[in-house]
């Protein structure tokens, strides 16, 4: 392996300045690095034109791929709104493999267990790089065990859009799974058998990719309404049998946890929020769809109703619980990036105060305006938290890549109050530790950690510590939480890695915040 020049970044991690042909600036602080001087937004070449009377509907996926002028070594992208019910990525990649292409970069906004067929495409040389969003499931595990020669790149939702707009991630062809489309390329995600809600993650791909293909299983008369992805950007539409498995795209009902300990964590998180200066009329918040998050949404709504407080908007990760707050008038508006259940999809279609926003609108740090910066409160999870409040969401303590960063780093940076909820111990593994395996979200953007064994506040937030004391919310130091965890479980051995770097963790501003290495076999 080539000799790399390493530096210690502002999160205290050793990172290379140059790797795999890329030049990096080290992470310097959450809001320190601006776009390079003179840098412009990129854009696709002109040339794909529809004349009067023409449509861009083609009859087969193969024909659609041919129209993208795909060549070996190019980059193709996908969105993850269908989650584990996605059929588009596997279908397109199989066709691409069958057509004989090699050495491609795949740039999905996220990967799920359903995408494990990618492993074979990697082994066969069809795919040599993964870049873009995040990875979860079997592909992540295989990468951690050294599947790929080149490191993959993990970016947050906002960071991915930043990379696309700035040209760091150049997409040659994007294949957008479209639950509802027309023959000149207008699409939405709220209608059709594979309805997923918004098409937020695909917006930047549609606009900035050299060629944009809508893959649909449900055509409607032109124009489809609403229009999420516009005909201005789509050059090809292809109809296939099925783009997704509806049962895995959205849940019928997400249930709040019945686990009393997780409910307690949720209640304590709400106590912290209520005691903070972020709890006020007109507040804004984002919670999410995990078991604890759903409970936080419900309990927070109850406390707001009791205290007569109305939020100006809630952002999601939208679920029935959030929509219910809108219907009760506890929040005035919802901004949705992804919809987790059928109820949220239906609301998005019907309620004028519930709109879909793109991943760029949501979280791109180099926007002129970014929605996460408007957040008063965000409640997030963690697989590991260290004594510097750095959060790992990508691996467990075993160091194996398993989960995406998603909007974690984006919302943590933007929100005035970032609350991490997690059990202190998972099975027999401590969650609050001396040092996280990788830094997904830097500690300077994290304010409070709420566990089943106690609450710790980042010392950077003395104001919050004072407020919690006044509100008689008991707090511990993060070191006390770590000691409690180690007292119960013992201090675990760190995972063993080889020297090979398997993943680069880009911070949302494009700097390098951490690297992940191959786990030692055995």
């Amino acid at each position: 392996m080539q000799q790399l020049k390493w530096v210690r970044n502002a999160a205290g991690r050793e990172v290379p300045l140059e790797i795999d042909g890329r030049h990096y600036r080290p992470y310097a602080g959450a809001f320190v690095s601006s776009p390079e001087a003179g840098k412009r937004r990129v854009g696709p070449q002109l040339g794909t034109i529809l004349h009067p009377g023409e449509s861009c509907l083609v009859s087969s996926l193969k024909e659609a791929i041919e129209r993208t002028n795909l060549r070996d070594g190019m980059t193709v992208s996908f969105h993850h709104h269908f989650r584990d019910g996605d059929r588009v990525l596997n279908m397109v990649m199989q066709e691409i493999a069958d057509m004989g292409f090699r050495d491609l970069t795949v740039a999905p906004s996220s990967l799920f267990p359903v995408h494990e067929p990618l492993i074979d495409h990697i082994k066969n040389g069809v795919v040599t790089c993964i870049e873009g969003g995040s990875v979860r499931g079997g592909v992540g595990r295989a990468i951690s065990r050294g599947l790929m020669e080149r490191p993959i790149i993990i970016r947050s939702h906002g960071g991915r859009v930043r990379a696309i707009e700035s040209g760091d991630l150049h997409i040659d062809a994007t294949f957008i799974g479209a639950p509802c489309a027309d023959v000149i390329g207008n699409c939405n995600g709220v209608k059709g058998p594979s309805a997923c809600g918004p098409l937020a993650y695909a917006q930047a791909d549609a606009i900035y990719s050299e060629k944009t293909v809508a893959v649909t299983d449900h055509l409607e008369d032109t124009p489809v309404i609403p229009i999420s992805i516009s005909q201005e950007y789509v050059g090809t539409v292809v109809q296939v049998d099925k783009i997704g498995d509806p049962s895995k795209i959205a849940s019928d009902t997400l249930r709040i946890t019945r686990d009393p300990i997780r409910l307690r964590i949720a209640k304590d998180a709400v106590r912290v929020i209520e005691a903070s200066d972020s709890f006020h009329d007109g507040m804004t918040f984002q919670t999410g769809a995990g078991g604890i998050s759903l409970a936080v949404t419900k309990f927070l709504g109850e406390r707001m109703a009791e205290r007569g407080i109305v939020a100006s908007f809630g952002m999601g990760g939208t679920t029935q619980y959030l929509v219910t707050l809108l219907e009760k008038g506890i929040i005035r508006k919802i901004l949705t990036i992804q919809a987790f259940d059928q109820y949220a999809i239906t609301s998005l279609l019907k309620d004028v105060n519930h709109i879909e926003v793109s991943a760029g609108f949501y979280a791109n740090p180099h926007n002129r305006g970014t929605a996460v910066n408007l957040l008063d409160v965000v409640v997030l999870g963690a697989t590991e938290i260290d004594v510097n409040f750095n959060v790992n969401v990508n691996t467990h303590s075993d160091g194996v890549l398993q989960y995406p960063t998603g909007g974690h780093a984006d919302t943590a940076a933007g929100a005035k109050l970032t609350v991490i909820t997690a059990p202190l111990i998972r099975d027999r593994i401590p969650v609050v530790v001396d040092d996280v395996v990788v830094v997904s979200t830097p500690g300077e953007t994290v304010d409070v950690v709420v566990t089943d064994y106690g609450i710790a506040v980042n010392p950077l937030r003395q104001d919050l510590i004072e407020r919690l004391k006044v509100a008689r919310v008991p707090i511990k130091t993060i070191e006390e939480l770590r000691d409690l965890a180690y007292h119960i479980t013992g201090k675990p051995q760190p995972p063993q890695f080889t020297d090979k770097i398997v993943a680069l963790l880009e911070y949302r501003d494009g700097t390098l915040i951490d690297v992940l290495r191959e786990v030692k076999p055995g």
Partner: protein, 291 residues
């Protein structure tokens, strides 16, 4: 002062994960169970696990009880393993007569105990109910007798209903026996864990009957049970008035105290003192006495 035992939660003695998380559930007491929730082939392992857990887990202020097996079914082995670890109390299942308690007491007095251990006697049969007073007063170590409604219903051939008519007399009898013996009366579980309102109503009923607490079948029930057993603001104010009037009467050398025109005697004062103590312990506001 007698311990607050509004809620008790059963945790299987062979589940390290649940025992570990037990103190976080917020119950007044956790019962590490070696009896019904542990299969026969797991009994040995559970015994060792519970002994080690009591020694090493920080249970904070949760009372740690261990339900042993009946003595002839391994209960003696349970005691041998558990007593040296230092539980707060031993729960004896299926008590039908005073000997069931006396035998355990004998083993306890012959063992080296790192700290005092109380006894809770479970009464779950017709015979047990008829001998409830005898069981409750069998040993000075008995701190409470507890009612096992499900087994009792089966034993008398009745049908278990939500209204609980079939256990009303058994419950009453148990409260009377407990109070006559000067120990706590603790009630059975409410089995339908999806019926929060039913749990609230039933718990209100047993509180009014004189029970000091009940068992929870699921941790989600603990909070509701606590809400019902917590004294209301009106009850606390009245209790404060009573305690104040009694204090005043004592200072003035009067034999009789009066609150709002009503004479108060020793049982009323004792009850009032207990309510004030409970309110203070629960961090509730204890107001000044009304003039």
């Amino acid at each position: 002062m007698e311990r607050l035992r509004r809620s008790r939660i059963y945790l299987p003695g062979n589940s390290p994960r649940m025992i570990q998380k037990g103190p976080l559930l917020g119950a007044d007491a956790m019962i590490l169970d070696l009896e019904d929730s542990v299969s026969r082939e797991e009994k040995d392992a559970a015994r060792i696990l519970v002994g080690m857990a009591i020694r090493h887990v920080d249970f904070r202020d949760t009372e740690v009880m261990v339900r042993i097996n009946p003595l002839h079914l391994g209960g003696d082995e349970d005691l041998k393993a558990i007593l040296p670890a230092g539980p707060d109390a031993i729960v004896i299942p299926k008590c039908e007569r005073s000997e069931d308690v006396v035998k355990v007491e004998q083993i306890m007095t012959q063992s080296e105990l790192p700290k005092p251990v109380g006894i809770l006697a479970m009464i779950e049969s017709a015979k047990g109910i008829l001998h409830a007073y005898e069981i409750a007063s069998a040993s000075s170590l008995v701190e409470a007798i507890t009612f096992g409604g499900e087994d009792f219903t089966r034993d008398i051939g009745a049908t278990r209903t939500k209204e609980g008519k079939e256990i009303f007399w058994g419950r009453s009898m148990l409260v009377i026996a407990a109070k006559a013996a000067g120990v706590q009366a603790l009630d059975t579980v409410f089995s339908d864990l999806n019926d929060e309102e039913g749990l609230r109503r039933d718990t209100q009923t047993i509180k009014e009957m004189g029970f000091d607490g009940r068992a929870a079948v699921h941790p989600a029930q603990i909070e509701i049970i606590h809400e019902v057993f917590a004294p209301t603001a009106i009850e606390i104010q009245h209790a404060v008035n009573v305690v104040h009037a009694a204090e005043l009467a004592r200072k003035q050398g009067k034999g009789v105290a009066v609150v709002k025109g009503k004479m108060i005697d020793v049982p009323i004062i004792k009850r009032a003192e207990k309510i004030v103590r409970m309110a203070a312990k629960l961090g509730m506001t204890v107001p000044a006495p009304e003039e």
